[in-house]
């Protein structure tokens, strides 16, 4: 890797030197990208390569490769109903949480994007959940979700005359319950980002729209959303990846149950690697998960980002 001082380029470049120019530009860019790339190389890509390597083996519980299995682990995954279940559950979880989090946060951000006395207090309260760790949140929600009558949420249901819910203990309600809690956790961060986006919108456009007689919904639909689209796109990508990678709430609240109804891929990987000591199959799952997220992100960039309005 060649490193050159990033000095200002001469104004004119010979057209014949397109390649040379490209190399030089790349070298310049690498000065800025270098620190991150080196860290990623050591702490992300090297382990990932190792993971791919392990996925071709059966390991002993210490994690050392023992028996060469080739692509056996991948074939097993393809035919495994429990892995298929994990994929479905993961996608459902993304579907439950990502739109919910973004919509709820957008609602709160629009609500809080007004000039009122004490609005700062509300903004702080809305962003509060960014400060809550998964471990803390799961501990608190474990109690809220208590399936007996003395659970707080069930008590609220009782107060408004609704029947109680099993929350985390039935196969139907467990995943939605976890999604509810995850949306709650995600609102804080999403709110802050959207608030920042809303605040940066130029006031003049709204002024002129108002003069043109555009109603609030029209303003929102035709000005706010398009101008906010880089922010919304960012949240879509980041939230999707985060949802696929969610782990803490599954580990603390449901352990993948009941009856595998919350056994997302990440939890399944963790279980296989650290409890069942099957590092080979666990690695294969990790590779598959990586590919799934990669394809999804590429799709988001290919399809959705076209509609994003950058200034």
């Amino acid at each position: 890797m060649q490193r050159e001082e990033p000095k200002s380029e001469p104004g004119s470049q010979a057209k014949s030197g397109v390649k040379a120019k490209g190399a030089k530009e790349l070298a310049h860019a690498l000065v800025y990208l270098g620190p991150s790339l080196i860290l990623f190389l050591i702490f992300v890509f090297y382990p990932m390569v190792k993971t791919v390597y392990l996925s071709f083996y059966l390991t002993n519980p210490g994690g050392d490769p023992v028996v060469w299995k080739g692509i056996q682990a991948y074939l097993t995954l393809l035919g495994s109903s429990s892995f298929r279940n994990s994929v479905v559950v993961s996608f459902l979880f993304v579907l439950y949480t990502v739109p919910g989090t973004i919509l709820a946060s957008l609602l709160l951000a629009v609500l809080a994007n007004v000039k009122l006395r004490g609005i700062g207090v509300y903004r702080t309260l809305y962003s509060l959940t960014i400060g809550v760790s998964v471990a803390s949140a799961a501990t608190i929600w474990m109690l809220l979700f208590s399936p007996a009558d003395n659970g707080m949420l069930n008590y609220f249901l009782h107060l408004v005359g609704l029947p109680k819910i099993g929350w985390l203990v039935t196969t139907r309600s467990a995943l939605p319950s976890l999604a509810l809690m995850t949306v709650w956790m995600g609102v804080g961060f999403n709110f802050i980002v959207l608030m920042g986006g809303l605040q940066s919108l130029p006031e003049e456009i709204f002024e002129s729209a108002r003069i043109d007689g555009a109603g609030r919904w029209k303003q929102f639909r035709h000005i706010t959303v398009p101008l906010l689209s880089p922010t919304l796109f960012f949240l879509l990508v980041v939230d999707t990846i985060a949802a696929f990678q969610s782990f803490g709430q599954f580990n603390i609240l449901t352990l993948g149950g009941p009856d595998h109804s919350t056994n997302v891929i990440v939890y399944s990987i963790y279980r296989e690697a650290f409890f069942n000591s099957r590092f080979g199959p666990a690695s294969a799952q990790a590779v598959v998960l990586f590919v799934i997220i990669l394809i999804l992100t590429l799709l988001q960039f290919g399809v959705v980002e076209r509609k994003v309005h950058y200034q």
């Binding site: 210490g62 208590s146 399936p147 149950g257 069942n276």
Partner: protein, 450 residues
């Protein structure tokens, strides 16, 4: 002005960078001992909450009274966390390691430990003072590999006040599955759209293992993996199916409720009088008593047994202490001294009083601290009696496989399938047995176990 701020940040970063290069941490865990100074014994444990506090108090006392040995007590997260850490890098391990009961097989197969028996033989340590049933769990081929430490058994907790209100005799707790079912029905009441259930137990694989043993059935073949390495799971035996059928039927009949996998949920419900009976470790008696204070009286009974079962007994649960073999001899000897000290009657009595774990040193019951404890919680005696009444055989010694953690999770899933009507008890357990068997065989293959 902004430049000034930026400059400050850069300086901070430079300083940090320097720190990184020179190494500002406290260094790795080198096990080298300063010549002439006291020997340091690193002790990894997984006790949280009150037991952690009790253990710290005990170890502080040891350090104060032993000038030549200093114990460094380190909490390593849950049993599984600690276990995983040791697996990832055995050479970075401690001198003394607390492992849960079901990790026994792996600890031996991994070849990381010096058997406790070696130290016992050398120093002619008297094992006869210990509860034999507890010792047997940790014995392999007549050799004790680790020293039992925190030990518990499951018991039935019941709300005496509710028993009285339902017209039941508060001094006659249910003893069999049929009794539990009958009493649970009598105890279940509905009022104003709310139900108080007669019974609830957490979906916890440990309970299933205990019921199985209570009914005289093996968990795995080859004498529960004790005559030779197990190759096959037996959880789908008639006894296993009976347990699940009973478990499920009570829920279907509305006499019991399913509160999920967390024992904390059933504990909370019991404390709030939402359920009248529950199954849990004997260790939580003090906490339940606190929750019940001023509201109701708690009774304890032995773990219920199947209707057709001969009266067998439960297995023990908990953890034991292991000495790792890749440490210098002097450290291992020092660790052994710590183990001996911890299991002396006075310490064991303090341990029981502080945690609710069983006094595994028989002499501990003569200590005044224990007598005071028993006076405060007289029903605790039921747990100890249950331990004493258990016959010694392969069943009650407990299953021994290297993949017990995953087997337990598999069984928990089978219980959920049955309870939530996703499969019949027989089908759920058949599938579980198949899965466990294949896990055992894969383990045997990769570990070279024959």
């Amino acid at each position: 002005m902004k430049k000034g701020k930026v400059l400050k940040i850069v300086t901070v970063l430079l300083v940090l960078g320097l720190l990184l290069v020179t190494g500002c941490g406290t260094g790795g865990t080198s096990s080298s001992q300063a010549a002439g100074g006291p020997i340091t014994v690193t002790f990894w444990h997984s006790m949280g909450g009150v037991p952690a506090k009790t253990l710290t108090t005990l170890i502080n006392k040891f350090n104060a009274t032993h000038k030549d040995i200093q114990v460094k007590l380190v909490y390593q997260g849950s049993y599984d966390d600690a276990f995983n850490k040791l697996k990832a890098s055995p050479d970075q391990g401690p001198d003394l390691f607390q492992v849960y009961d079901i990790g026994t097989r792996y600890m031996i197969d991994a070849g990381l430990v010096t058997p406790m028996q070696n130290f016992i033989d050398k120093s002619k340590f008297d094992l006869s003072q210990f509860e034999p049933h507890v010792l047997h769990y940790y014995e392999v081929g007549g050799k004790l590999y680790s020293m039992p430490f925190n030990t518990s058994v499951p018991v039935l907790y019941y709300n005496k006040t509710m028993f009285k209100a339902a017209g039941l005799d508060p001094n006659k707790p249910p003893l069999t599955f049929a009794d539990v079912e009958k009493d649970a029905k009598a105890l279940t009441t509905k009022s104003g759209g709310k139900t108080v259930y007669g019974f609830s137990q957490a979906i916890y694989g440990w309970f299933f293992e205990q019921y199985l043993a209570r009914d005289g059935a093996l968990y795995v073949n080859n004498g529960n993996g004790r005559d030779k390495a197990a190759t096959e799971s037996l959880v789908n035996s008639p006894a296993g199916v009976d347990i699940l059928t009973w478990w499920k039927k009570m829920i279907d009949d509305g006499a019991a409720t399913n509160l999920g996998r967390q024992t904390s949920a059933t504990q909370a419900a019991f404390g709030a009088q939402q359920i009248a009976m529950t199954i849990d470790s004997c260790g939580i008696l003090p906490n339940l008593t606190t929750a019940a204070a001023g509201k109701f009286k708690i009774g304890i009974a032995p773990l219920p047994r199947g209707n057709n079962a001969s009266d067998s007994g439960p297995i023990i649960g908990g953890g034991s202490l292991w000495i790792l073999k890749n440490k210098p001899k002097a450290e291992q000897e020092a660790a052994w001294k710590v183990v001996q000290w911890l299991t002396q009657p006075a310490q064991m009595a303090a341990w029981t009083v502080g945690t609710g774990y069983l006094p595994i040193n028989k002499a501990a019951v003569n200590e005044q601290t224990y007598k005071d404890f028993l006076a405060k919680y007289p029903s605790y005696q039921v747990a100890l009696d249950q331990l004493h009444n258990t016959p010694e055989n392969r069943v009650t010694e407990g299953g021994r496989i290297g993949v017990f953690t995953s087997a337990r999770a598999t069984v928990e899933n089978a219980i959920e399938q049955a309870v939530l009507n996703k499969a019949t008890p027989q089908a759920a357990l058949d599938a579980a047995a198949k899965k466990i068997t294949s896990a055992i065989q894969e383990y045997n293959q990769t570990m070279g176990v024959k």
